[in-house]
Symmetry: C2
Subunit: 452 residues, 2 copies
């Protein structure tokens, strides 16, 4: 008898699960139905700033796989369908067809929750004016681009100096706008330590972005329904385009309402097989919380790479396989004009909170042999456990060739290497690629010397 | 009472040992004497092709630390001094001052052998003509550059298609010469597998180098004492500049003559503390053989990174410390014009020889999100142990951003990760830096699928 898999959410997590399951079972034995509220499946939200910045021209290129492509693989994708409830007793989900304005229910044998995350809403009057945007859905990117083309705005204010805010600020700057960026924190990118955050703040200001830290937005004011000013700490800033990038929270209400366990971060709790607390219910993507391998605590990190892997693991396990998602270490990279920034593992503050005794080690080096043309400065920060010498985290900042070195540190952190072991690594050396002591190894060497 | 450290060889291995020892002991307790045959200390041999190619203009920039700088750190550096014998009974070394043409002996309490490696000499008539060069010493690079400027050669023949041969071929091409490269092997860079080697051969030919494989040089012919032709398999090729880059062999005769153990590779045998078989005698750099962490066999790999680390370890241990050099995994990177190549661990052939049952897995991807400008093709080869799934080695080929990904694989190989574990890694993702599935993770995923 045929079974049915129902997937709630048609982006990275849900469609990875659906696609994986469809490869492992034929259509006669497993029917797959996927519900998606929006008009897009499997798109790259991380690409939105590059759409706004004109680096990517066609929004369709950000769609990894369209509904039609998923259907060609036997997945019954229902677009503009909003799942409103899960009934674990009858094993059904209730949905609303937003187009036909019709409600329905469908039974499931296996369920994958991939409801994603919702942007944190600013608690500020005036955000309903035209010219005010979020950065979550592909529609947001398309709308901002249209606003730039048609409204010809001159002054942009970006609220929030996390990754997406910074990438949006760069994109708007590249489109000729004056850009102000406001954040309530001490430095941009809160997962950096203050010393590296200060270097990043300087770099952001050098490229011409008016970065205002430790400030909050009081209100937006409009004329004729279009935003014109942002009031910040009592000061009125001109603003004909406002973008909120305050981060996201897991969308877990659907799960919670069905009695499925939601963890302290607000994300759906999953085990290392992507199983929720309910039988036959898996979850994947931005709606879940996952295990941080260094802090050993749950974290909610909205990132397509995790969503894809979790979806794949769910798709394998619900079809009788055995796959594991062993957790994350918070690796991230970003770019602001020529400046690259990367981080992995724990910052000093996170390490202290997790019960380690961290020591921060700074090292400044170059990305290539210092005599080689194109050698750029790279600033490295290591977070090391003082008693064991274990590398808990790393942060890098620099120009071309800097950010992806975080991957080397990420594999070191993943393997719980000490800085002595990192120093001993056999990494690639040739003058166009690295100095004789690669910054990764050189930073570890400094740490070994400082720890004594 | 003061002790004396004698260092034989003033390049990376020897001077790292000397510098490390000088930082750990004051001059009154440890006198340090270093003998160097040439006129240079601590130079970057890897930089020679870039000197020839005009990317680096001043040979002095390739010198990491001059004799004067070493002397300022209290090291008695004796240039143009050739150490001719070691007497382990009297604990003395005999030397010849090549400048003053005077012989002498000096006693030691600690000895570091860093005699380097010698270029493999071609067994070909006619190599004593003008216009024929090696690529080992800084003098070679300076001489080739002078020959290009003054002799205005048109046809270069490079013999040997290892790293240094390829980099020299690129350098000569960039100087406007027609370049033929000859190698007796099936493909360039013998540490690659044949499939990746074939891709590299194609790329080398595409940039305009006449690459002739499985051919050997019969003779060089000259006119007026200057080379004019290279005879290859009976065919005469015009050649007014010939460069031999046939690789190097450890220079271990001095050690062997003193009864110090030399291993099967011809390199001085050292343990993981850089100790030789003789008491108080350490060795470091291109003259030693070291432990390959994957094959568990001794290897001789001439590379400045290893020399530096071994020298540091010797310097620490001979001054009463405890440092370890845990071996190598054969990581290497190189560049041919826009093409980057990297390798680490074992090739398929090496893995078979070491008793593994290797399976080669190929994956073609892109260095950035495929929609992002500047995304380049990257070709990845993994060598995986069939029964355990352990990653034994990796090779990458591609344009900008390809080669340094080998470092990520290198840390995986170092930690004996399986391809399943590699697939699970949390690596940095953002469209300018990687696709959602980074080529490292994507290649591992293909391997997991193929191994079943």
């Amino acid at each position: 008898m045929s079974e049915r898999l129902v997937v709630v959410g048609g982006d990275a997590g849900g469609m990875s699960a659906a696609a994986t399951a469809s490869r492992r079972r034929d259509r006669d034995s497993l029917e797959i139905v996927a519900f998606e509220r929006s008009g897009f499946t499997s798109y790259s939200a991380c690409g939105i700033p590059y759409l706004v910045g004109g680096i990517v021209h066609d929004p369709d290129t950000l769609i990894a796989r369209s509904p039609e492509e998923h259907r060609a693989h036997g997945i019954d994708v229902r677009m503009h369908h909003d799942v409103t409830a899960i009934d674990m007793t009858s094993r059904t989900v209730a949905y609303r067809d937003l187009g036909a304005r019709r409600d329905g229910t469908v039974g499931f044998d296996h369920l994958v929750l991939a409801t994603g995350a919702s942007p944190i809403q600013p608690d500020v009057p005036g955000t309903d004016a035209r010219g005010v945007f979020g950065v979550q859905h592909l529609d947001d990117g398309i709308a901002i681009r249209r606003e730039i083309a048609e409204g010809r705005p001159k002054h942009a204010v970006v609220v929030g100096a996390g990754y997406i805010g910074i990438e949006m600020a760069e994109a708007l700057l590249s489109q000729g706008l004056q850009v102000t960026m406001i954040d309530r924190g001490e430095h941009p990118m809160p997962t950096l330590d203050p010393d590296m955050g200060a270097l990043l703040a300087n770099a952001i200001r050098r490229i011409g972005i008016d970065l205002r830290l430790e400030q909050t937005v009081d209100a937006l004011t409009s004329e004729d329904g279009h935003v014109r000013r942002v009031v910040v700490e009592g000061e009125e800033l001109p603003a004909d385009l406002v973008v909120f990038g305050l981060g996201v929270r897991p969308s877990s209400a659907l799960a919670a309402d069905a009695g499925i366990t939601v963890g302290p971060t607000g994300g759906v709790t999953i085990d290392d097989h992507a199983r929720t607390s309910a039988p036959d219910v898996f979850a994947a993507g931005d709606c879940v919380e996952t295990f941080h391998r260094v802090s050993r605590e749950p974290v909610a990190i909205a990132l397509g790479t995790h969503a894809n892997k979790q979806g794949r693991v769910a798709g394998i396990n619900l079809t009788g396989g055995d796959a594991v998602f062993p957790g994350v270490i918070g690796t991230a990279v970003s770019r602001v004009c020529a400046l690259e920034v990367g981080r992995t593992g724990l910052s000093e503050a996170m390490a202290t909170a997790a019960g380690f005794e961290p020591r921060g080690i700074r090292f400044d080096g170059t990305t290539r042999a210092s005599y080689f043309p194109g050698a750029q400065e790279i600033q490295v920060k290591l977070v090391v456990d003082e008693s064991s010498g274990r590398l808990l985290g790393a942060q890098v900042l620099g120009e071309e060739g800097a950010a992806k070195r975080i991957d080397v540190f990420a594999v070191c952190v993943w393997n719980e290497m000490t800085v002595t072991e990192v120093m001993e690594l056999d990494l690639g050396y040739a003058p166009p690629f690295a100095p004789l002591w690669d910054p990764v190894v050189a930073a570890a060497r400094v740490a070994v010397a400082e720890l004594g």
